[in-house]
Amino acid sequence: MILLLRSFLVPAGSVLLAFLTGGILLFLSGSHPVEAYIALFQGAFGDLSSISRTLEKATPLIMNGLAIAFALKAGLFNIGAQGQFLFGAFAAAVAGFYVQAIPSVFHIPLAIFAGMTAGGIYGLVQGALKAFSGAHEVITGIMCNYIAINMTDYLVNHPFRDRSPGNIVARTPQILDTSRFPDVAGIPLGFIAAIIAAILVWWIVRYAVFGFEIRVVGSGINAARYSGVRIRSVLMGTMLISGALAGLGGAVETQGVVHRFQPGFNTGLGFEGITIALLGRVHPLGIIPAAILIGAMKAGAGMMQFSAGVENEIIDVIQALILFFVTADVILQKMLPGIKWAEGERLSLSTGWGGNS
């Protein structure tokens, strides 16, 4: 129990520090920080509808955080999760409006499967690039994100455009009712799916043979080679699953919230996923509270802008600060030297441009 508490200390401390620093920034830009934060909180947890909005915002964040955390276990920084998310959302939308006249029981999983496949394949491409060429996944991932943005933009402009009369926006038609998520006992189905996914990922990492291989590759790639782990397959398999998780996030967003694919939504997700993964200490279950926190910030941002007049982007700034304080836990430990800190996993992602994998 004490151990568990300790491992919460760094994330909690960094969130606190980030909000403090953000407050100073707000103060400098002429707003009232306390007022702004209260508005933010009310917007996120003020009433039932805002709580459900928070959960709604948190859902794709959990999936993205999971995707990134899972890849991190193998030492991969899947910044391309955003592109995988886009393709997932798009594929789910296509499955949602193209396939007709089948009952919900089949239509919902079908659309989910379509999203996961699309995201997974896109992730697999990036994994293969890493495994066979050694190109650093951060650069190729970001490039793939831009490609995904352009590609989906083309697809909704030309082959899959909503051609109903009166529509002038580039977007797909609405998905059919049979593929939409219902609420389960007042909680959006998507959120439940995300929780299940988190538990599943945790189980895989801890108890599956493949999970062990992933961790060996991530913690000591040379030892992995020595012990006969097929590194290329593990890298690609990891990216496949990671991409599928991101794609699932996209599908959930399409089926549960947007109900169609429209370019230009959720473009910052890749970066948010990183913050969440690290804030959750790269633990699949730690992702959930971290994602709810960021989701709450996003849900409350509107209220904050409305009643305190603060630009939405402060959320991005605070996120960057959280990310900074979480990874620079040295700072926290220097500021509060008396406390015994739990030893977090030291990340090492920048092992050079990776000529040899």
Binding site: S29, I139, I147, F271, I274, E313, D316, A320, T351, W353
Partner: protein, 335 residues
């Protein structure tokens, strides 16, 4: 006889480059013979398009040669583009704008250096933080509806700009483009022949060896990253004050990452990176011209994808062949 070590540009594989450039030059001369106006326009546009990439690559090169992997170039550029534009509007002076852009880039560089060198954070994460912070800060402080007071003026060198082909391309251009070429050659000379260059390369290859010889690895890395930040700042200023004329959210559009591919393609040498960026710029401007002439007709999304695709291909092919500085990514511990 000069001592030539393996970390300097050598003769290996340079034949291909020479061949490539001879054929490109031949094509340019041919096309100038057919249509001078179009050729000049395409070449000038290539030079302009390559400018932020070259500058970004120089920024990356400075920090990577001293052993720090810098993926925060994008963020450094963005902050500089924003701050340069803001100061330009406030003061009304373009000069002030450019200088503030440089300062913003250097400040972002300082922040990056502090995280990666002093705090010994993972360099990829430190770079990512710079990138996120740049998006957040520029978005948060962005005052909507601000308009600029003009762009940097084109400057013609008298006499020289009258030379056919070379004149209008090389000697009739905006100051930052011109400055970029100067920076490339200066940096190349310094990196391979000066004391600072020797120390930088030593730090990138074997920081401990450099430290035992009394070189302060920390100071050197700070210095290099911040100079690099200035150069990235120049790229940002180029985008907001010269190329586009206003600041737009996320206007760097991944150029900071493409610059890294350019740097790798150029084997971590300034002139190599310059050549790579020129090729990159040329392919872009030729494609635009073909599109304009309706020789090619692709949806704009596909042409928009092109630079990113090329970057991936370049990375995938050249990352193994070109040898990066040995200590990249490892933070230097003095035990």
């Amino acid at each position: 006889m000069m001592a030539v070590s393996r970390l300097r540009p050598g003769a290996r594989g340079e034949m291909l480059c020479v061949f490539l450039w001879i054929s490109v030059t031949a094509c340019i001369v041919c096309s100038y013979w057919i249509s001078p106006v179009v050729t000049v326009a395409v070449l000038s546009s290539a030079l302009r398009q390559s400018t932020p990439l070259v500058l970004g690559a120089m920024c990356g090169l400075l920090s990577e040669r001293s052993g720090v992997m810098n993926i925060g170039i994008e963020g450094q550029m963005l902050m500089a583009a924003f701050w340069g534009f803001l100061m330009h509007v406030w003061t009304g002076s373009l000069m002030m704008g450019v200088i503030s852009g440089l300062a913003a880039g250097a400040f972002a560089g300082f922040l990056f250096a502090w995280m990666s060198v002093s705090m010994k954070m993972d360099q990829i994460i430190a770079g990512t933080i710079i990138n996120i912070l740049a998006v957040g800060l520029t978005g948060f402080f962005y005052p909507t509806g601000m308009s600029s007071a003009g762009k940097l003026k084109i400057y013609s060198v008298p006499l020289l700009s009258e030379i056919p082909l070379a004149g209008p391309v090389l000697f009739r251009m905006s100051p930052i483009v011109f400055l970029t070429i100067c920076i490339v050659f200066l940096l190349h000379y310094c990196l391979f022949y000066s004391r600072w260059g020797l120390r930088t390369r030593a730090t990138g290859e074997h920081p401990k060896a450099a430290a035992t010889m009394g070189i302060s690895v920390v100071k050197l890395r700070y210095g290099n990253i911040m100079i690099g930040g200035c150069i990235a700042g120049l790229a940002g200023a180029f985008l907001s004050l010269e190329s586009v004329g206003v600041f737009e959210r996320g206007m760097t559009n991944g150029r900071g990452f493409i610059a890294l591919a350019v740097m790798i393609f150029g084997k971590w040498t300034p002139i190599g990176a310059w050549g790579a960026a020129l090729l990159f710029g040329l392919s872009m401007s030729v494609q635009t011209q073909l599109q304009f002439d309706r020789v090619l007709s692709l949806p704009h999304q596909f042409t928009g994808m092109l630079p990113y695709l090329i970057t991936i291909i370049v990375l995938a092919i050249f990352i193994r062949r070109n040898r990066p500085p040995a200590s990249l990514g490892v933070s230097c511990e003095r035990e």
